[in-house]
């Protein structure tokens, strides 16, 4: 599936720049699998909380700067 390959490539970019690939994930969830969707979102939200905000954005905010990223 092409979208999955694009996500894999983007995960590699995230590793390269030091942000870590775990900030991005790809899941297969059918439209009929509402409980699985909810559980996946919950897990991903938990993961995002544990990882914390993008340190680069935090640094920019602390310095009062904006960047096009």
């Amino acid at each position: 599936m092409r979208a999955q390959k694009k996500v894999e490539y983007t995960k590699k970019l995230l590793d390269e720049i030091g942000l870590g690939n775990e900030r991005l994930e790809f899941f297969y969830i059918a439209a009929s699998e509402a409980p699985l969707f909810a559980e996946t979102v919950r897990k991903m939200t938990e993961r995002a909380k544990n990882l914390g905000p993008n340190p680069y954005r935090m640094r920019l905010q602390q310095e009062g700067r904006k960047d096009k990223g």
Partner: protein, 230 residues
């Protein structure tokens, strides 16, 4: 087209680590078509550099520009573009090796008083064709003396690992090269094609030797077209 692959990000990063104002310069022709050095890829690389240096707490300005062709003065001479080049401490050219060299030469001629540093962001690969989605294969070595008329449109110079003029060799097996089963035997393909065309007689006479002087063996080559000069 000329194909290329991006250098490892870590390598590019080390090239420009000591500079504050970085320009990523894309090239909108061959390397844009093979999706490694065009406008989109320039934006991605610039973003990567901003983010990675930002994460390290290093203040850098990274901008991206893309010209139609870095191997042609005509597309590099835009005054607004040259003004932006003047601001940069280093330029990462994501063109092929031709584009990198030409950009370096042209920009150092066009901008006085400031040496322009140009580093490559790609490894240039080969002249090839887009065979399938995401797949390019080498098809021409630029040998300077094309034999495709004799060989049914399949190049033995490029596609035979030994560049044999008379083949196949003893290493051909089941239509594959002895180097790898991933590589088609060029001479197997040539014979099949000529059989289909009913022109197998074309390769009956043994090709005795070849003059390699038009190839790179004669040193860097030039083409001079007096009819195109002013």
């Amino acid at each position: 087209m000329i194909t290329a692959e991006r250098k490892p990000f870590e390598e590019i990063k080390e090239y420009v680590r000591d500079y504050k104002n970085i320009m990523v310069l894309g090239c909108g022709t061959c390397v844009a078509v093979c999706q490694v050095g065009g406008e989109k890829e320039a934006e991605i690389l610039a973003s990567e550099l901003r983010l990675t240096f930002g994460n390290e707490g290093k203040r850098v300005e990274v901008n991206e520009e893309t010209v139609v062709r870095q191997c042609d003065d005509e597309f590099m001479a835009d005054p607004a573009f040259l003004e932006k080049v003047k601001e940069a401490d280093v330029i990462i050219s994501i063109a092929c090796g031709v584009g990198v060299q030409h950009a370096c030469n042209f920009l150092n001629r066009a901008i006085e008083g400031k040496p322009i540093r140009v580093v490559p962001g790609l490894n240039t690969a080969f002249m090839g064709a887009n065979i399938d989605l995401g797949l390019w294969e080498e098809r021409c070595l630029g040998c300077g003396d094309c034999v495709l008329e004799r060989t049914g449109g399949i190049c033995p110079i490029t596609r035979c690992a030994k560049s044999l003029l008379n083949g196949p060799c003893g290493g051909s097996s089941g239509g594959k090269c002895e180097l790898s089963t991933d590589i088609d035997c060029a001479w197997h393909l040539i014979i099949e094609r000529l059989e289909t065309l009913g022109e197998l007689e074309r390769i009956r006479p043994v090709e005795m030797y070849r003059d390699w002087r038009p190839s790179h063996s004669g040193g860097p080559r030039k083409i001079l077209r007096e009819d195109l000069r002013l």
